[in-house]
Amino acid sequence: MRSVFKIGVPMVAAALALSACGGTSGGDNNAGGSGSGGKACDLKIGFFGALTGDAANLGINIKNGAELAVNQYNEKNANCKVTLTSFDSQGDPAIAPGLAQKAVTDKKLIGIVGPAFSGESKAADPIFDSAGLNTISASATNPALADNGWKTFHRVLGNDATQGPAAAKYIKDVLKAQKVFVSDDTSEYGKGLSDIVKKDLGSLVAGTDQTAADGKQDDFSATVTKAKASGATVFFYGGYYSNAGKLVKQLKDGGFTGTFVAADGVKDDGFIKGAGAASEGSILTCPCLPPDKAPEFAEAYKKAYNTDPATYSAEAYDAANVFLDAIAAGKTDWKDVTEFIKTYDKQGVTKKIKFDDKGEPAEVSVWAYKVQDGKIVPDQEIK
């Protein structure tokens, strides 16, 4: 008798829970479907990216940018608020698909700002595409992402096919290097970038080496030896800031005197904090706008988070605003949102936000930044 009771109670509870789930998801579908008619409330915008893990800073910058846009929208539309929900992927392509599956079951979700990194985008975007949920990434820069025919894929920044050549151009024209050492962390993003840089630099490449994935290597002494032996005056690294901080310190300590050049994945204060004085003079490219070019945004951001906007905060703000404009226009069905984004054309804080048929931004600018007195400051636009 006791044992029957023991099994019976959880069974009943489980059955109740199941039926409850069925009820709510049905309700969600209705709300989504009827959206184009009356104005639906309780809608959501998702953030998809790393909030914890080795590259969490980059994700937090993006989330804050999107959150600011949502908060500003809510101030204007206090009677019909939008919420931002987070999907913390830890930047891990193995975790991303599960989260994406979870996201596409929520019909109140109008769009995703993200996925943040290229690796996780490759893993999660097919799921968003087959479900029809639109994504606008503020940071994924691998060029091949746009070539998959995903109808829901968009991004508001230039890809590595523009950033890579820009980095190579800066190395050739501004640093006037004759010998360059090119290295990466074997990630989707890092290797893609370093391959483009290698191709563009051609015969200037004096040596190459690869490191372990971000956060998976502490000792880079053999890489340092290789870089010095190659006689290079510029060291290009395709990867993220956690490895880059340790690498640049060991390069300087090991006697490498050239310039350290890396891309947007390293453009974070975590790089300077980790490397200390060794990071001084490093060049970081980024298809993102310096904050002083968008003063109003920078001011609002500083007020909200008590810190200057960091890499991709402004891009995330623009991406979130596309979805918020869609909501304001009453587009709540995912198909309608796709059409809305296709015809979107508006000045954002980073650039004119307009997408081509592959989901790439119509206008792109790449900037070089420099580490000076322990801060990342804009150096010049690479044209």
Partner: protein, 330 residues
């Protein structure tokens, strides 16, 4: 494959490999000491290392080590070593008290202790990675921001040591950091080796390792010997932590894991349970990684190191020096 770099930069690859190998070796000592006495792999030893590194960073921050110069640097470096070694030893002691002793008293099978070790490792590492939370619970978000703010990010070593090239071996100019790391490691190793082989307490350690019951009959306090091995292993890990900070310049809550795996490998390579084996294993692993990367490229670094481990264990299943702590006489 490219052997030219290996030959042209042999001294540099060897010295930097030895310097990093010294860090492996010091951590490996902790694994091997505990294994010798308890027949237990203390997987949480990597976190003992990580806490030591944070202790060194925080103590120097509190004392204003960032502004030190000249002779002051040497003083601060000594403080860093002392604080890291003390904290690491205390954490190791705590680990023994909380995670292992209760199990030992109940005669649990070794597998249970292994799971306890892995659990303790996660708990310690996450406690460091979530260190801002207790302050938030009590509404003190802004207290100690320099120490507990952004707990998942790297904390830099405050002491700024200018790299000075002292003398050259072949075409490599040895730097002061190489020398400090190698020198301190060798001093530590000699002290530990002499302590275990010559002192009365060391004899107790060897006796328990050889035959715990006979040792108890002869009046050796087994619990005290076990505590002592944890303290010794912890202190070595603390010293390794400061060397790691000198070389790498930063530490984060999960820094222990990678080094722990490598140091454990080094201990097995040299023959786990054997002190000198752990040293040899650490140095060989450090150098092999460098050579491997020079010849095959960075992406092959770990492949080379672990292939070496498998090959050595094929021919010498008990590791290079084999013998356990109790039997090692030399």
């Amino acid at each position: 494959m490219d052997f030219s770099l290996l030959f042209s930069h042999f001294p540099e690859l060897t010295i930097t490999g030895l310097a990093y190998g010294a860090i492996y070796a010091l951590i490996a000592l902790g694994y091997t000491l505990v294994y010798g006495v308890l027949r237990l792999i203390n997987f949480a030893h990597s976190e003992v290392f990580m806490y030591g590194a944070f202790a060194a960073v925080w103590v120097l921050m509190a004392l204003g080590g960032g502004k030190a110069s000249g002779l002051g640097i040497a003083g601060y470096l000594l403080i860093a070593f002392l604080s890291a070694m003390t904290v690491s030893a205390l954490i190791a002691l705590l680990l023994e008290r909380v995670a292992y002793r209760p199990l030992r008293k109940r005669n649990s099978p070794p597998l249970i202790a292994l799971i306890s070790a892995i659990g303790a490792s996660f708990a310690l590492s996450e406690a460091m990675g979530l260190r801002d939370k207790p302050f938030k619970w009590f509404g003190q978000e802004n207290a100690f921001q320099d120490y507990v703010g952004r707990p998942r990010e790297a904390s830099p070593f405050p002491l700024k040591i200018d790299v000075v090239r002292l003398f050259s071996i072949g075409n490599y100019q040895v730097s002061n950091i190489d020398l400090i790391v190698l020198g301190a490691a060798i001093v530590m190793m000699i002290v530990l080796d002499q302590f275990v082989n010559r002192s009365r307490l060391g004899r107790g350690i060897r006796a328990v390792a050889q035959d715990p019951e006979a040792a108890a009959l002869m009046g050796v306090n087994r619990d005290r010997v076990i505590r002592l091995t944890f303290v010794l292993g912890g202190a070595m890990a603390g010293a390794a932590a400061v060397m790691y900070l000198l070389k790498v310049g930063q530490v984060r809550y999960n820094s222990g894991f990678l080094l722990g795996v490598k140091a454990f490998t080094a201990a097995v390579l040299g023959g786990i349970g054997n002190l000198r084996g752990a040293l040899l294993g650490g140095f060989i692993l450090g150098v092999a990684e460098n050579y491997g990367q020079a010849v095959f490229g960075g992406e092959w670094r770990d492949v080379v190191a672990f292939t070496l481990l498998v090959v050595i264990l094929l021919f010498r299943p008990t590791g290079l020096l084999g013998e356990s702590l109790g039997k090692a006489r030399a």
